[in-house]
Symmetry: D2
Subunit: 264 residues, 4 copies
């Protein structure tokens, strides 16, 4: 997929930068970031505060212990499978305790593309969506229309549910329900050639899914496994929302974790 990010596309995307204002969509990393209750809170440790021989001089060092899918992160292609297959027909057996031997995140590279943010609670006149709300393709289209933005092939589409603060403050109930995109959005993604879908919630898609028969995380399965796209979770879209910024140059610089499954 990311092969679509040709030099021409990259140059085109840079053209979108019109104001020079930078919005950081990543959550704080450490004890404070949003994290699903089933995962561990990250550790940030200062492992060394030392003083050298000249009095008053010294230095410090630190350590990060984190689950790659805690706080703001990209889900890599090896995060999910069905029919025992990853994207591109690779066997799920390639995901071993030593890491993903295929579809590892070290292959992602920089993401530089046009970005669009769709603010669904704003469309609905709500502060945040209710817990069992599944965002439909129609709602995405309505939001784009009311915001005055088009969806173009290759866009990075970021969906706002209004739940960023709920997660960041640890107020999301561990068992669900969390609003997110409906299973029916997969077709919409395919039709619009959208390969990177992000949201301000824990799983992009509604959780638990709309119907039990869909199995666990149906949008993950389609987006990562069938389409070879990516999901970005726990994005902080609050500043974009407040300033009504809906179209922008989107840049992500993923850590090149060898065999990685997710990227903090």
């Amino acid at each position: 997929m990311l092969n679509l990010l040709t030099p021409e596309r990259v140059m085109e995307s840079f053209g979108l930068a019109s104001a020079g204002k930078v919005y950081s969509l990543g959550a704080p990393v450490g004890r404070d970031g949003p994290v699903h209750a089933s995962r561990n809170t990250s550790w940030h440790l200062v492992n060394s505060i030392n003083n050298d021989s000249s009095p008053g001089s010294g230095g410090a060092d630190d350590v990060l212990v984190t689950q790659c899918h805690a706080s703001t992160h990209i889900d890599g292609l090896a995060h999910i499978w069905h029919g025992r297959q990853l994207f591109n027909g690779h066997s799920a057996d390639y995901v071993t305790p030593e890491g993903a031997q295929r579809c590892g995140v070290e292959n992602i590279g920089w993401i530089i593309s046009r970005g669009v943010m769709l603010d669904i609670p704003k469309l609905k006149g709500l502060e945040r969506l209710p817990g069992r709300h599944a965002v439909t393709p129609d709602e995405l289209d309505e939001a784009a229309f009311s915001q005055g933005v088009d969806i173009l092939p290759g866009d990075v589409v970021l969906v706002r549910t209004g739940w960023y603060k709920t997660f960041a403050m640890g107020e999301a109930d561990m068992g669900g329900d969390y609003p997110g995109v409906s299973r029916t959005v997969c077709r919409w993604l395919y039709d619009h050639d959208i390969l990177i879908l992000g949201a301000d919630n824990v799983a992009v898609e509604i959780y638990p899914p709309e119907a039990e028969s869909l199995g666990i995380l149906p949008v993950h399965k389609t987006q990562l496994r069938d389409l070879g796209g990516y999901l970005v979770e726990f994005l902080n879209l609050e500043e974009l929302a407040k300033e009504n910024v809906y179209e922008f140059l989107f840049i992500a610089a993923p850590l090149r974790i060898t065999g990685g499954i997710g990227i903090p």
Copy 2:
């Protein structure tokens, strides 16, 4: 310092992107990245490979345990002090086991600027600099001249010593000697308004320092503590060198580690 990255500067920097080709300067993260022998090798663990109730479906999760100053990283302002002071006169007491209460890396934000790479071994006709070589201001100027690039205020300057592979293959001797910039480069940085200095070695500056009387890491002390600038270490400049790319749009998207001292 990063206050200099105004919207106007950002827009100006984007103008430098002329070819749309992206070079990733970060080393692999995990067991393979370069790391000084005094630090721990990073752990990348797959902590979950599970299968859900529908046969053939499943997912995986991973964990990263890393020192923030291992592999490619930015040194934050709290990394070094002298006279018991950090940059801007903050007391070194603000660096506590809970993190840097002042000068933490969460304040850095995106770095978007003009970048210049100065290839010193190329200037010297060497594959890599000798272990005790201290790169002087004159050598930086000569390299810039021979490469046909100017150094402009606010540039991100990346110095190549040719040692990236040496470190990445674990062939650098633990005790030193490593080539790097001379203490005399600090004045050059100040005169050129250079606030981000990077290199392909462990400490940017020569180690051990040129004279014992300089104390430990004299360039760190000046750059981080006195000038409020940053250092970027273990950069992979090999591809830039190979393709003679000396001037470019430089982008870094630092993890916002609360109270952080370094950034992987």
Copy 3:
């Protein structure tokens, strides 16, 4: 101190085992153990569940990430200093980011001794002591008397405050107040030749201390630094209390962490 554990003493201690019943005083290790809110919750991760080539066969591996002073643990001699000195006059400078170069826990070895448990809330007719209760030498003597046990030189003395469950259930307030032994107990320890003092609370001693002028953790300073003894914290004494077991063979088998400061 532990030099007192001569073969004769060890043989004598074994003689105390009269019933053959084993009481495990250690708390669960992992997410569930008691931990002070200022420390991190331990991580226990299964980092590998794999299946080998013969169908139905496989194995699993796990990882522990823990602060050495979380859950039940021994405080080593390098845990505290005053006058810039550790026990035996060693400079506090020996405690470096690489570990304790003197007084590390690797020197502790097995502890095999007579143990005595003193149940203070039982003496007071309470379920647990109030938050600001400082246990005095008189109370220790009274508890020993009413329980019918003598305190002998070299004993491991374990003091029950009744707060084990409070900590284990995360109900202890982060800022204090926690009951524990008074500063005046130090003299009592010295007079009775008690070198290992344990309790079912976070710091053995009352926290915050009885008077601000005492500085932080005065019992720690005396016991670890002046007397060269040890403290054992977060002990689960509930079963001993329930069965009125007050005298016993005490055994601890400390992990030999090189340069360690505490032992899980």
Copy 4:
């Protein structure tokens, strides 16, 4: 199995302590311990060296990051399965990323029993066994006979191969071959009612196994899965060997890791 450790057995075992000398069989924990090259070296970090308000006073704290099967450790029952079953017919599905929901090491408790060490290289007149040597039941019997010890039901049997130092010094080749007990020892264990088998090597049993058709780790499968016994690996038996100590009181105090698979 450990139900056999009745109070009577415990009391009987204490009777074996005749000299009061304590031998610590655990390896150092941290950077120095023996570890198989496929696992990560443990981290021991000092995460806090701080000074309180009264000058000269202060304290330190540390952190341990370790694989539970690195250095000296006990293999728990959930470490291995075949026929998709753990010991006692529990489904292997109980081993989840959250830990072992059945057969977790928190159930082990203290081990107090008679111990016997069998020194096979001594029997052979060697410093250490050759890499492909599979220790047979006959050799175990011969060693016991020549050492003048009986094997009694319920004993903890420790087999010396002479490879402790090889592993501790990182000189064992990653791919094998390592000497260890033969598959045929399983029957011998069963006949002698031996439920805890230890050795001074990485896997107790020879690796790779004697015949490929046996699958991976056949002794593990029998001992842990079929017999419900335990294995103890990387034991330091050097001091016992040097002093010809072959019969002793064996004590182990396992960390109670909830859902744990191995115990450091």
